[in-house]
């Protein structure tokens, strides 16, 4: 997994609440058996007309946001299905950090597995970041995972919370399975005691 340490980039505003995984990546694109190549279909139905031309007023089609690396989003971002194609599409597009007042649980977990940092902030902070993002390409925000801060283009800085284990994995680009494999003895021991306690499982 790609490491996430510090990022300075353009933030795109998406104030709509309840942006669901069907919006992020419609199901017609879930038929791939690969993990890559979903970025071109990110937000497909919001981003493109049926004939493939771009919908001009969609935020990521605007010239100042085409290379956005941060999304400032409305409440409950990523609700809906468990499809990891959603964070795959976001990462493939080049977005590495999303800030919202809340995220759907499965999407939140899936993001960390793909080098994306989802940050939960209170409404008043999201409002400030949203205003900053609306300034366009000259407004670059800085996200520092080590320091757990996000800084607006005006230099206003906010601290955020992140789970220490998830932070550690993201900072070092660690693979979960490899880490769990180091604890295989605990799993073996659990399996043994569980199979005598609940042999029907």
């Amino acid at each position: 997994m790609e490491k996430f340490e510090k990022l300075t980039g353009i933030a795109a505003p998406m104030p709509l609440v309840n942006i669901d995984t069907d919006m992020i990546i419609p199901k017609v694109f879930l038929k791939s058996i690969q993990r890559t190549g979903f970025g071109k279909n990110l937000f497909d139905e919001m981003r493109f007309n049926r004939d493939g031309t771009e919908i001009e007023d969609f935020v990521l089609n605007k010239p100042q946001y085409r290379s956005a690396e941060i999304l400032i989003a409305g409440d409950n971002f990523g609700c809906g299905s468990s499809r990891e194609h959603a964070p795959w599409a976001i990462a493939d597009f080049g977005i590495k950090c999303i800030v919202s007042t809340s995220f759907a649980d499965i999407f939140f977990n899936n993001s960390f597995k793909n080098g994306i940092l989802p940050i939960v902030m209170p409404q008043d902070v999201v409002d400030v970041l949203m205003q900053d993002a609306e300034k366009g390409e000259n407004a670059r925000m800085t996200v520092d995972l080590e320091a757990q801060t996000i800084t607006t283009s005006d230099g206003e800085s906010f601290e955020f919370d992140v789970d220490p284990f998830k932070k550690h994995c993201l900072l070092n680009g660690l693979d979960d399975i490899g880490l769990t494999m180091e604890k295989v003895e605990s799993i073996d021991a659990f399996e043994q005691s569980a199979s005598s306690a609940r042999p029907w499982v």
């Binding site: 419609p26 199901k27 879930l30 993990r35 409950n76 609700c79 468990s82 499965i106 399996e191």
Partner: protein, 468 residues
């Protein structure tokens, strides 16, 4: 010992390792797999030279992509991409030695219907699947939730999941339901109350007389949509109904093992005095048949209501409601019962079980659907289909003008050929009314099976109580 919730008990019984910061390895008893979210996980195993740690606890079935027409044995009924995904599952199941129900097997169906039906899902278990509606299995008092593909790979390789414990939320439905009100109305009414983010960070335990009174099928409907309320999982404490449902299923324990299992399951309830972080209470008798008007499952109102004005909401919801109403082609103030429907879909992991088909058939018996209406029933599994045929329900549907389909996810998410066309409006017994969910620019109103049947007869969203 301090009193524990049901969630606390199941959690504690499955922690294989706990780090100092509270990060746990949660042991997984059942891993269900389908064709859409698994190919990349199996490929990951292959690339790392890893095996499936517990193939005997891993069960696969293709459901999302499969056609539901009776000629589906013909490969030409599938697009090439869908065929590749289903073939990949065939191959992975064989290569990694996991239990498998191929499309040709009468037991094939939606993964969340097959699991309980075959007795794979039992009380007190941990159950995961790369599908958000895994919450369904919580009806058995099993801790069940959806996971992403990276986590699917993690469970395949280690039989564990890296987790931190969620908070406890109690949703109590007191008293009795009125006639015409179903499990679907309960679960939608709860989401209407809490919002789609209301359950974020929680595991919900549903309780109260109205929940106890539900059949296992109804309880599965309630838990199925816990995810739509944002919760990681929904749970209902197991009782005699649960045990009766499980007994005799192919993979349920037998003999002395059954006795031991049942004795253990009897301990799976929330202790007196256990604390919940949040409690929501609804009166069963206040719940009415409901319908969604917008593009989020929280956009729910009694069928007697009107499309709300966007300005009646607050904050970001004002813009979301405006967008929903425009997408749905509605007007604020319009009576819900004036909304005309083109298509009716009965099926899905929410409402594709035998009881759902019985409820719909009861309304349709001896009647014909409205001229020009497209109506389909997609049983949740081949066994549900067979049972419905045996009970004569299939004939009721066919005589009324419904298409009688083979099992699969079908038009719930429209990954197979069953889709809405642009602007088409559907009364659906499924779980999501998102933009484009049932087809590009398709419009979805979520309802109970009885309400779906009623809409098929009248051609409009209809209060099922008027046809009972």
């Amino acid at each position: 010992m301090s009193p524990k919730t049901l969630y606390d008990k199941i959690w504690d019984a499955h922690v294989a390792h706990e780090a100092e910061d509270g990060t746990c390895l949660l042991y997984i008893d059942r891993h269900l797999v389908h064709e859409v979210t698994s190919p990349q996980a199996f490929e990951g195993l292959r690339m790392a030279g890893r095996a499936v740690r517990a193939p005997e606890k891993t069960i696969a079935v293709p459901d999302h992509n499969v056609p539901t027409t009776t000629d589906r044995a013909n490969p030409a009924t599938m697009t090439e991409e869908s065929r590749i995904q289903v073939e990949a599952l065939d191959k992975n199941a064989k290569e990694f030695g996991i239990h498998y129900y191929p499309v040709s097997d009468v037991r094939q169906g939606i993964v969340h219907i097959v699991g309980p039906e075959q007795g794979w899902t039992l009380p007190g278990m941990t159950v995961v699947c790369g599908d958000s509606h895994t919450a369904t299995h919580g009806a058995f008092g099993a801790l069940a939730h959806g996971i992403g593909t990276s986590e699917v790979e993690h469970v395949l390789a280690t039989q564990t999941l890296i987790q931190k414990k969620s908070k406890n939320m109690k949703v109590e439905i007191t008293g009795k339901l009125k006639p015409g009100v179903t499990a679907k109305d309960i679960t939608l009414a709860v989401i209407g109350e809490t919002g789609t983010a209301g359950g974020t960070g929680y595991v919900i335990e549903y309780c109260g007389e109205a929940i106890r009174d539900l059949s296992m099928e109804g309880r599965m409907t309630v838990c199925n949509m816990a995810i739509e309320g944002g919760a990681r999982a929904g749970l209902i404490a197991p009782d005699e109904k649960t045990f009766a449902y499980c007994k005799g299923r192919p993979h349920a324990p037998k003999g002395a093992e059954w006795e031991a299992a049942e004795a253990y399951w009897q301990t799976l309830f929330t202790d007196e005095g256990a604390e919940f972080d949040k409690t929501v209470t609804l009166k069963g008798e206040d719940i009415q048949p409901v319908v969604t008007w917008g593009t989020s499952p929280e956009d729910v109102l009694p069928i007697t209501g009107v499309v709300p004005a966007p300005e009646s909401f607050e904050g970001g919801k004002v813009e979301a409601a405006r967008r929903s109403i425009e997408y749905m082609g509605l007007e604020a103030g319009q009576k819900l019962t004036d909304i005309e429907i083109d298509t009716v879909f009965i099926g899905s992991c929410t409402n594709g079980r035998i009881e759902d088909l019985r409820a719909a058939a009861e309304i349709l018996k001896g009647k014909k659907i409205k001229d020009g209406m497209r109506a389909m029933v997609v049983p949740g599994s081949g066994l549900v289909r067979a049972q419905a045929e045996e009970e004569g329900l299939a004939d009721v549907f066919k005589d009324a003008g419904f298409e009688w389909r083979m099992a699969g996810c079908s038009m719930c998410l429209a990954m197979n050929p069953d889709q809405l066309s642009e602007g088409e409006r559907c009364a659906a017994t499924s779980n999501r009314n998102f933009e484009g969910r049932q087809g590009f620019k398709g419009r979805t109103h979520l309802v109970s099976p009885g309400m779906a049947a009623a809409a098929a007869l009248t051609g409009k969203l209809t209060d099922v109580r008027e046809l009972m």
